[in-house]
């Protein structure tokens, strides 16, 4: 009772603070200085159409490297925590029943298309909305569909781990190449900028985003897999 009362009081105080925030908010009339800089110079400096992608991959590339590292650590810790809590003998995974025939056929039909759509999302990160993180999530969704259609199916851990480590390594290597060949770490001008609006343009952005996409997809897949994993011991 006291607990409920205290939480309601806390919420009221917070609600008043939020109300004063909303009431006093005045939207900007024009872009602030850093946003105006990005709006003017992104096309010339990076050749990317999507300014958000340019900020994430190039201007703030180091932060993105940190983000990918955080995700990697998360996947590793989830696997570690779950491996310390083995399920009782004779049970397996999340215990879904075998799927019906139609779902299996549909999965075999749809998984390649979903994977290709994921590839489209991260390769076109500099032209359309989307990018490595969204594309990686879509790749992981395709893996999830495979897991759901056939709960007995096992992916090769080594393949997932290999994809992840190779793409991570290449990502860092591209960053260092930017340090050597162009203006700084993860600079995208190590490759020619190309024609504005084409698929192979914007220097190394499509390459870097593809690597991020593969790495993130592998991380999410291993996260899902360690939640579904068979534990027969």
């Amino acid at each position: 009772m006291i607990r409920k009362f205290a939480s309601v009081v806390l919420l009221l105080i917070l609600g008043y603070a939020f109300y004063s925030l909303v009431a006093g908010f005045v939207p900007d009339g024009e872009l602030n200085r850093s946003a105006a800089y990005y709006a003017e110079n992104t096309a010339r400096e990076t050749g990317a159409q999507n300014i958000v992608t340019a900020i994430i991959v190039t201007y703030r590339g180091l932060d993105t490297l940190g983000e990918v590292t955080v995700l990697f650590l998360t996947a590793a810790i989830v696997a570690q925590v779950l491996s310390h809590s083995r399920a009782p003998a004779g049970t397996r995974g999340s215990g879904f029943l075998p799927a019906g025939e139609l779902l299996e056929t549909g999965t075999r039909l749809l998984v390649p298309l979903i994977l290709l759509f994921g590839v489209y999302v991260f390769v076109n990160g500099h032209l359309t909305p989307g990018g490595g993180f969204q594309g990686g999530a879509i790749l992981a969704s395709a893996m999830l569909l495979l897991l759901l259609a056939d709960p007995m199916r096992r992916f090769s851990h080594r393949l997932i781990a290999k994809v992840e480590s190779i793409s991570g390594l290449t990502y860092v290597a591209l960053g260092v190449m930017g340090l050597v060949l162009a203006g700084g770490f993860l600079d995208n001008r190590i490759l020619p900028l190309g024609q504005f609006g084409a698929l192979f343009s914007a220097g190394a952005i499509p390459l870097i985003y593809s690597l991020i996409g593969l790495k993130v997809g592998a991380e999410f897949s291993s996260m899902l897999e360690s939640l579904e994993e068979t534990e027969d011991r």
């Binding site: 309601v8 925030l21 709006a39 999507n50 300014i51 925590v81 779950l82 993180f133």
Partner: protein, 118 residues
């Protein structure tokens, strides 16, 4: 538009906090947490919106020359994108630890978990 979005975001934060404070089931607390984080994201994006402008993608609809006067602020969007991805990581960690707690204590109800050590 901005006012609607911002108010919704703040209300979502409050609802999420209320749920996290009053529920005793760990899974329900995590659900409330994800709602609150969605609310934060909505607030952040609505701060970057400007009426009458369009998305910061410079294709045929938005020529490069007029970008400064026709697109909205891209920086909050980049920020929120990172926040969503990290939010998934945090949720996954919370779920893994909740499962571990369940394996050890055989319950998800925190009012039944009285020992501090586990």
């Amino acid at each position: 538009m901005i006012t609607i979005a911002m108010t919704t975001g703040f209300v979502l934060i409050l609802i999420g906090l209320y749920g996290a404070l009053t529920n005793t089931n760990i899974l329900r607390m995590i659900v409330s947490f994800t709602i609150a984080s969605t609310g934060v994201n909505v607030v952040l994006v609505s701060v970057g919106y400007m009426p009458g402008r369009t998305a910061p993608i410079l294709d045929d609809a938005v020529p490069v020359g007029s970008a400064t006067t026709s697109i909205i602020d891209p920086i909050p969007q980049a920020l929120v994108l990172t926040a969503i991805v990290i939010g998934l990581g945090v949720t996954a960690l919370m779920l893994a630890y909740a499962y571990r707690l369940f394996r050890i204590r055989q319950t998800l109800d925190i009012s039944k978990i009285v020992e501090l050590k586990w």
